[in-house]
Symmetry: C2
Subunit: 332 residues, 2 copies
């Protein structure tokens, strides 16, 4: 563990203080979901062990902290926290299968280890288990929000897939895509948490807006890290998005600066792929584009924190504020 | 249209008489779901047109008839009928992607036309839309049943995938697989329909059992038709299951008759694939195995009809009885 690594962990530990009990219960759900298959279906057990270990559990954290702003009891929050992480993992498993990615979080992907067929089916299984946990909240608002979230995510992925290497790229399309890809799932966690904790309509709206803006900030930083990150820290190669034909904010800004005459446009036109990816990464890293992207991300972070001002102070609210800073500061 | 074809259609028209209004509303839901994408997302519109047209809509029929046994109003039944068909189509889209199938119902598959990536994402989108319709019933029993059904289907598919070309094949494994693959979705339609129509616990149980047994009978006939069907009528090649390594009832019975010394075992051992598939099809068609399989299917059909005896007579109940006969009689 590097010193940087250690300081990241410590920060998160402090953030998580108000919800350690809830998080332990989410992890227990994962363990029981996995262990249940050990005897009867050992192959599935192995796949579950592989995917359910080692994530940042950011979505459960968001769910529990959002509920914590309203002092709700956690019995019905834990199933939603579990559902939001399972849904997240299911989309990652399908994404990696589609992208033919070899590694995720520094480990081989499911599709790499077990093949495409098993990856599709494991993703479907995780969607289903996520749905069962959402249903276990016993709350129809949350169930509808869950189904709608899956729909927004899958339409977003479809749009991204049809837009790959497309010459029509705009900031609006980019925002729409990352809203569908990331912010929707953050909203499920934060709005759902507020609903289950019995928040008023205004409280639910505040947590909806927090999740949405934090999700945008989070994804923009993810897209920055795809250019600036350390390959080992990130657990996947630099420039992965470009390789898939996905044009994110840094590449978009580069295109806007020299319309037509830049390596991203050349990549889109199908010219020498690896050389243009390397050239794009180098130009983005060399100039002030990264700083400009961070400024956009901080803008959404500020909006996220701004809406929390309407809520009474609490340890959970303070953690949500700090989490928003962490999302900008993180290096992977 | 052949004379046989015409008589099949007429029978179905009579069966559907008690629910024509409901079926029209399900089709309207499909139309509106598709048309909604026409302007904003034309690529998705085209894919939806391709998959949402021309099925037997058997699951909506089951949902509406099951509800019809209890005189429930149809407002909340239509969303479940729609959800059950969308869930069915979603699983077909993923199945075809996994099996690398070229045709389905005589048309090219989604994965053939748009590629694997789009097929995975379209399947996910349809799961999501199905989930939204299930949530629109506003009934938590139905929502839980829906999530559980998706889980049973996806575990079943995973089991089938891990069991492909496996030497361990038994009647029990086969039943377990077809229960997960087909009967679970029938149960969603029939039990869910009964629940939404306000049936008593006994009524719900009866419709659960009807759907389960009918599903088994239906899948056994499907597996028979994979051996005996006309390639053009079926819209897919004969022996498709064997080609995927899926050992169904006819092949299982052949294995039991000459343990070790038969073309199915040779296929499993990886010997000359096409020759052993052709030999299996020919042996199954030539002997009395098909009749034996039909006897098993009729046994489940009889159980399905038997449980309906506990319900008062009604046009919907009569249609469910006739539908059970049709499931055995159909030739595709």
């Amino acid at each position: 563990m590097s010193p940087d690594d250690r300081s990241n962990r410590l920060e998160l530990v402090e953030l998580y203080a108000p919800i350690v009990g809830g998080l332990a219960r989410v992890e227990a759900e994962f363990r029981s979901l996995t262990e249940n298959k050990k005897a009867g279906f050992p192959a599935l057990y192995q796949m579950l062990c592989h995917v359910l270990v080692g994530g940042k559990v950011l979505r459960p954290v968001l769910t529990l902290l959002s509920a914590g702003c309203f002092n709700g009891e956690t019995d019905r929050i834990v199933p939603l926290a579990t559902a939001s992480e399972l849904l997240h993992i299911a989309t990652l498993v399908h994404d990696d299968a589609i992208d033919k990615a070899d590694t995720r979080r520094g480990k081989p992907t499911v599709s790499k280890l077990w093949g495409l067929e098993k990856a599709i089916l494991l993703g479907d299984f995780l969607f289903a288990r996520a749905g069962e946990f959402a249903a276990a909240t016993g709350n129809l608002h949350v169930v509808r929000l869950f189904a709608r979230t899956l729909q927004i995510i899958s339409s977003g992925e479809l749009r991204q897939s049809f837009a790959a290497f497309s010459p029509e790229q705009s900031y609006e399309h980019y925002l729409e895509r990352i809203a569908g890809k990331t912010a929707a799932l953050f909203v499920l966690a934060t709005e759902g948490g507020a609903v289950l904790a019995g928040a008023t309509d205004d409280g639910v709206k505040a947590l909806h807006d927090y999740g949405y803006n934090l999700g945008l900030a989070f994804q923009i930083v993810d897209d920055i890290l795809d250019f600036t990150g350390d390959e080992k820290e990130m657990g996947k190669p630099v420039g992965s998005d470009l390789r898939q034909g996905t044009i994110t904010l840094p590449a978009l800004l580069l295109m806007q600066r020299s319309p037509g005459d830049n390596p991203v446009d050349r990549l889109i036109r199908g010219e020498d792929r690896e050389a243009n990816i390397a050239r794009t990464v180098s130009l983005v890293r060399g100039g002030d584009i990264i700083e400009q992207c961070y400024a956009v991300a901080r803008g959404y972070r500020d909006r996220a924190c701004g809406v929390l001002d309407s809520l009474p102070d609490s340890p959970a609210r303070r953690s949500l504020m700090e989490l928003a800073d962490y999302v900008i500061r993180r290096d992977r």
